[in-house]
């Protein structure tokens, strides 16, 4: 295992997953043995000291989330806690969890065992996007092998800890990736998000305390157990621990995944991805998928972690950059994002169900040159009114408003220029 690339260091160039024996040969599952000799509280403290922020998009501290999970017998009602590993990756521009699921399934299973133990969960589910068929079968094979080796099941390695782990293949719809919608889906319903509170740690799957962690977050856990909190923090360039599995796509010459220290800059990542393609000149970028506000060249040297991206008025999100060169219009990109979010809204909350299609139509009208000044006012109003958290059950609408609001604030002139005959970039005027 690489000391500096814990997440991807063991992956093979052809992405073929390891057998259990192969995984053990490179040190796999040693962390499970170690973790089961610790108490759940010690594990949470360790992950706390490592300062592991959740990699699903919001960057909430993993240890804090885990600490909310009540110990066995200390929550009302009957049943176990649940750990859910979220592998429903469908964010525009995100392609990292696919890699971890397909190429490194035992890393996910190993992390899930440890996280389940830390959260007092006797039942864990890895939810995987339907389209990731290779990932689904890789994880299923890894689970079967781990079960056969008593790394799962009853009295794991003689520790007294029992864990049932299974895969739930989903069947489309972006909203399934929202943690409360995912719980609704697992209970057999439509994937409609739920109001918080109760938070999943209070009442999640089947009303039991539930933790939902992203595939990447879970994949990091065994390494923290193996090498310690200090090592993990030292991997990072900032206060937030570890490496990050970044991605770069869009207008770059060699789009790719890049594991790098947390806090690596967009400039370095874009350079490693072969630099800006198209005109070769950067116009702007989204730091972590379709729902993250645009940043401009001035932010190329800002460390890409959750805190710094927030301070720069964007979000780290999934850490998978979408790069736009000067020849690519951010209005067009936002229009495509908005059409996506409008289509993927579950339709429960009115601002989202009604607001997103409206915003998408206006953005298309801007591209086509059929929009009016009043349409731009409506976009501004929509972003202002529906952007803040709390107006809807989940943050799909709020997330979608991020790029829209930044489009309007950073590229207001460009947006207005669309009123005069459509996209000026497409027409070669800019």
């Amino acid at each position: 295992m690489s000391e500096t690339l814990p997440l991807t260091g063991r992956a093979r160039p052809d992405r073929s997953p390891h057998t259990l024996a192969e995984w053990r040969a490179v040190g796999g599952y040693a962390s499970v043995e170690r973790a089961l000799q610790m108490t759940p509280v010690q594990l949470v403290d360790l992950v706390d000291a490592a300062n592991l922020n959740g990699r699903g998009g919001a960057g909430f501290q993993a240890a804090k989330k885990w600490r909310f999970m009540p110990a066995v017998g200390t929550s009302p009602g009957i049943g176990t806690n649940y750990l859910i590993v979220n592998g429903d990756e469908m964010e525009p521009g995100a392609f990292k969890d696919r890699f971890l699921l397909e190429a490194l399934p035992h890393q996910v299973v190993e992390g899930a065992i440890i996280a389940a133990y830390a959260t007092h969960s006797r039942h864990a589910i890895i939810l995987i996007r339907d389209d990731y068929r290779a990932g689904i079968s890789a994880i299923r094979r890894a689970i079967a092998a781990a079960e056969a080796a008593n790394l799962l099941g009853t009295n794991i390695l003689g520790s007294g800890f029992n864990l049932h782990l299974r895969v739930h293949p989903s069947a489309g719809r972006y909203i399934v990736g929202e943690e409360t919608a995912l719980i609704s889906a697992l209970e057999g319903g439509r994937a409609i998000p739920r109001k918080r509170p109760p938070f999943p740690a209070q009442s999640g799957l089947w009303g039991r305390p539930t933790t939902v962690n992203n595939v990447e977050t879970i994949s990091l856990v065994p390494h923290i157990v193996a090498q310690g909190a200090q090592w993990f923090r030292a991997l990072s360039r900032t206060e937030e621990g570890g490496t990050k599995l970044y991605g770069v796509s869009g207008m770059v010459n060699r789009p790719q995944l890049i594991e790098a220290p947390m806090g690596t800059t967009a400039r370095e990542l874009i350079d490693r991805a072969g630099g800006v393609s198209g005109t070769g000149v950067l116009r702007c970028f989204q730091p972590g998928g379709g729902a993250t506000p645009f940043l401009e060249p001035a932010d190329l040297d800002t460390p890409m972690d959750f805190g710094h991206m927030a301070k720069a008025h964007s979000m780290l999100g999934t850490g998978t950059l979408i790069v736009l060169d000067q020849g690519t219009c951010p209005v067009a990109v936002t229009a495509r994002h908005m059409a996506f979010y409008a289509r993927e809204s579950c339709g429960w909350c009115t601002p989202c169900r009604e607001g997103l299609p409206w915003a998408a139509r206006i953005l298309t009208a801007l591209e086509d040159g059929t929009a009016t000044p009043r349409d731009i006012d409506i976009l501004r109003m929509t972003a202002a009114e529906a952007g803040p958290r709390g107006r809807t059950f989940c943050d799909l609408m709020g997330g979608a408003m991020g790029p829209l609001a930044s489009l309007l604030s950073r590229f207001g002139d460009l947006v207005e220029a669309h009123l005069d005959g459509g996209c000026p970039i497409r027409r070669g005027l800019l």
């Binding site: 990756e89 469908m90 964010e91 525009p92 521009g93 995100a94 392609f95 969890d97 696919r98 996007r129 339907d130 389209d131 990731y132 068929r133 290779a134 299974r166 739930h168 293949p169 989903s170 069947a171 489309g172 719809r173 972006y174 889906a185 697992l186 209970e187 057999g188 319903g189 439509r190 994937a191 991605g247 796509s249 869009g250 207008m251 789009p255 790719q256 995944l257 198209g278 379709g290 998978t320 979408i322 736009l324 690519t328 067009a332 990109v333 495509r336 994002h337 059409a339 996506f340 993927e344």
Partner: protein, 157 residues
């Protein structure tokens, strides 16, 4: 035609695994679709009956999840990414080439029943843009130029 035996036992196995009929509804639909390509009204009713849920409830699941097909699809389903990264890298030209070649639009099936074309959320292949998923294994293909469409459809890619 009643529900074939292997399907029946697969579904009942899912009920056991998922801890009940309700949480197993989606998997039951997936199993039907895996065996038959889509979920017909007759199958829906049979599965609802087997699970002891109402047809309406099962259909509310079937119609919510976009990858459960409630009408017949072609032998090969092509899911073309409509994410931004693919669009920047020529996704529209690829789309047009596919539609031209197949003579269909999104959501449609060729007259010979061979292909169905669907637009998809970002397929997690942004490093291979423009990309698509093809066939029952959802094989990721990309980057694919308009010129590559013919080869793809003839099984060359």
């Amino acid at each position: 035609m009643t529900l074939p035996e292997p399907l029946k036992s697969q579904i009942l196995h899912a009920v056991a695994e998922d801890g009940g009929a309700k949480p197993a509804m989606l998997e039951a639909l997936r199993l039907v679709q895996q065996a038959e390509g889509w979920v017909s009204d007759a199958r829906l009713a049979q599965v609802a009956d087997l699970l002891g849920v109402s047809t309406a409830e099962l259909d509310s699941i079937a119609t919510f999840y976009s990858l459960i097909f409630r009408k017949p699809v072609g032998q090969t389903v092509i899911m073309l990414c409509d994410g931004a990264s693919c669009w920047m890298n020529g996704g529209d030209a690829l789309r047009d080439a596919l539609m031209d070649r197949l003579g269909i639009g999104y959501g449609q099936t060729t007259a010979d029943g061979r292909y169905t074309l669907i637009n998809s959320a970002c397929v997690g292949g942004c490093d291979r843009a423009p990309a698509l998923l093809i066939g029952p294994g959802r094989r990721l293909v990309g980057p694919l130029s308009p010129d590559g469409v013919a080869a793809l459809l003839e099984g060359g890619l």
